[in-house]
Symmetry: C2
Subunit: 190 residues, 2 copies
Amino acid sequence: MPDTPDAKVAGEAKPVGAGRQLLFLREEELRLAQDLLFFGYRDFTAGPDAILAELGMGRAHHRVLHFVGRRPGITVGDLLAILGITKQSLGRVLTPLVEEGYVTQTPGRNDRRQRLLTLTEKGEALERRLFERQREWVMRAYREAGPVAVEGFRRVMRGLMGPEARAQLDRSLQPAPRPDAPQPKRRSAA
Amino acid sequence: MPDTPDAKVAGEAKPVGAGRQLLFLREEELRLAQDLLFFGYRDFTAGPDAILAELGMGRAHHRVLHFVGRRPGITVGDLLAILGITKQSLGRVLTPLVEEGYVTQTPGRNDRRQRLLTLTEKGEALERRLFERQREWVMRAYREAGPVAVEGFRRVMRGLMGPEARAQLDRSLQPAPRPDAPQPKRRSAA
DNA sequence: CAGAAATGTCAACAAAGCTGACCAAAAACG
DNA sequence: CGTTTTTGGTCAGCTTTGTTGACATTTCTG
């Protein structure tokens, strides 16, 4: 089956009959998924990792830059919920990022306890650099696989996420909720 | 079918025209890919992680169990190449796995320097338990997404892998190479 | 004002990577 | 045969990024 290096990676070439969606999940196919996720994720992160290493940073810094860039003005608490780590762990990467001028903290206008996080120009520049590296990589994969495969990829990856992550993802697709507008007493969803 | 809370995650519903495969890669779509991979991979590994934690093990142990299970009789060197770590790092998880009876080492028959690695019954049982947990998770995602999406997922994940990982994947799909047959002087592909 | 919430910080620990140095057994080479 | 290379293991020390637990500060809220 792995005849040509690319064509139908390891999927049965059987015409996908209507009702038999339960049979195509044989053990080998699941094991293949494990392999794909391990190797794929590892190589997906390798590019940025190399850039970060030169700057004495790690993947955790990238994640902060990424999610702060995605939701400028995000609160520390929300960032913690997204990353799913403790504030001590976050502090260890966030504090240096602030000290070295990649991220700014500004007190919230409604709630001055909050430190709203935003990328500085320097932070945006680095985030963009990391993004571009990763973009090339993903673009290659997308191009090779084609638009239909990309849509399938998204659907499956989304299915691999737990309900909380899905909610967070949906939220991050919303048009950021006016960080200074009077907000209706949000209960932290953790 | 999954038009319910899932349909078209965040993809443009535009009919995928023929030649415009270069345009559909807008920035937001790439950022979505980053999010999907982060959350998806994290939640994909969460199940096994929980089981492993009870046994005082980590993800690294799972990887060893997985790849030894996949290629019984694998040499330490080959396992190192697959995992892409140093032998010291491997030693820290492999030695305990051997000591606690999950993995056996038997000297190679052609090359008695080699320690061919195989799962014991205990090792197979644990690997299977981890596998089943992950299977349920992946199955849910596959079912929700449908067979066509699964094929797309595979194609994209494979594209995200670097050339070396692809080669290793192909090799692991081969019918394991008779660990005791006289082998034709393999040059280590590091 | 009292208490809860948002954030920060100190200390200690763990998992899983890394480098460098060094050793032994077995194979391969000349 | 003797030398060199390969395979694998081990010790020691360092790094990143996660964890708990305890405690302080500021600010909001009832």
